[in-house]
């Protein structure tokens, strides 16, 4: 085995950075979309209308029981198919980026739903009663009193889920997207330096996620104080 040779990395930095841009873009959009959809699902799961609650519950259980890689695959193959059916145009295309975005958002929403549901339930009945006693509608009670408190309590968990999601974005290599890991792989293939590039990628993922976890931990202690 030859010695490690890192020389192909400096020249590839712009390409790798581009890949990181895609990873972070995926992360932020999926987090935002996932939290929005997750909040909606959480409200449905807690709704008094049984069928709605059951439907939301089935959604959550489904997505939490299948591997993320499969969901990414499905949407990659399924989304263009559905679009063609809907529009009737044989050349309708979605592209791997958008299908990945949809897959991540739908998948993450299931996990965010459970975090947010726990957050909503952690707000005491007394707070709900006080809001109702002022004459607020159910929607106002949620929007003005319950959700703001739930989110404040849930921020560390939501961020921790975001760190997991960041690592999971690397799965888009299966649909040939050049996220950070994909970009590193491509450079490694080109230069015959896969080991070095994957080591480098691992170090970068580790550094970012470790720093982010530490940040979340500090935030959690501050919120508790």
């Amino acid at each position: 085995m030859s010695a490690l040779d890192w020389s192909s990395i400096p020249g590839a930095l712009p390409f790798l950075l581009q890949g990181m841009g895609l990873s972070l873009g995926l992360l932020l959009s999926a987090m935002l979309g996932g939290i929005l959809l997750g909040t909606l699902l959480a409200l449905l799961r807690l709704a008094r209308r049984r069928p709605l609650a059951a439907l939301a519950g089935a959604y959550v259980n489904l997505f939490r029981s299948v591997p993320l890689v499969l969901v990414i695959f499905w949407f990659y193959f399924l989304a263009p198919f559905i679009l063609r059916r809907l529009t009737g145009r044989a050349d309708a295309a979605v592209g791997p980026l958008y299908s990945a975005l949809v897959a991540f958002t739908l998948f993450e929403a299931a996990y965010y739903c459970e975090i947010i549901r726990a957050g909503i339930q952690s707000v005491s009945r007394g707070q709900v009663a006080a809001a109702q006693a002022l004459g607020m509608s159910h929607g106002q009670v949620m929007r003005l009193v319950v959700l703001p408190q739930a989110f404040r309590r849930m921020v560390p968990l939501l961020l921790t889920q975001g760190i997991i999601l960041f690592q999971d974005t690397s799965l888009v290599y299966v649909i040939s997207l050049s996220d950070f890991l994909g970009a590193a792989g491509k450079i490694g293939q080109r230069d015959g330096r896969l080991v070095e590039l994957y080591l480098f990628a691992a170090a970068v993922y580790f550094a970012l996620c470790f720093a982010a976890s530490r940040g979340v931990g500090r935030l959690q202690r501050r919120l508790r104080a």
Binding site: Q132, L134, G135, S137, Q149
Partner: protein, 242 residues
Amino acid sequence: MIEISGISKWYGPRQVLRECSLHVKKGEVVVICGPSGSGKSTLIKCVNGLESFQRGEIRVDGISVGDSGADLPRLRSRVGMVFQHFELFPHMRALDNVNLGQIHVLGRSPEEAARKSRELLARVGLAEHADQYPAQLSGGQQQRVAIARALAMDPIAMLFDEPTSALDPEMISEVLEVMTALARQGMTMLVVTHEMGFARSVAHRMVFMDEGRIVEDAPTPAFFDSPQSERARQFLSRILRH
């Protein structure tokens, strides 16, 4: 103003209210007392529909609370409620706590609401604390903000559920003073409390509850001087000894 007529309530198989009837006229102050678990909180929460009941009827200002078609939010916006544990919204400053219902329920402009809130905070002696968060206030101060929050809705009646029982002794009087002033201004009040000094000085009538029943309902002097039931006598002697 508040007419409770023969209401009964069950939690599962357990009956917690047994044919309770109680009328509170406009401007009247009625104090409810009784041992813990006797159903006082449940009864008072039925008045603004925070709890449901299975039998009987409650009318507030002519509107039937138990009706399936009753506009509960609208009814609640007209009846103030003060809770044992204050229940201020912890993510908002005192001023915003008092503003909230005015803006989102009554539709007042933020400026109008803030003017009213500052006036009310001054009235409960907290003009200086408008910008503080609940966690920065003492229990007594929090409860006074909660009273201001309820008064901001211009309620036709006020419900109090043991407003001083979660307070340190030295803070009880500051809350009772605010409530006494309110009673003297003619507010219709239904108050669950064990503060018998307060009850004696402001209540027009005393109601004693035991095991889900209204056992006694009498003018205040009569209740203290000659309680009719053995249970009320026992209760009074126990509570007045302290």
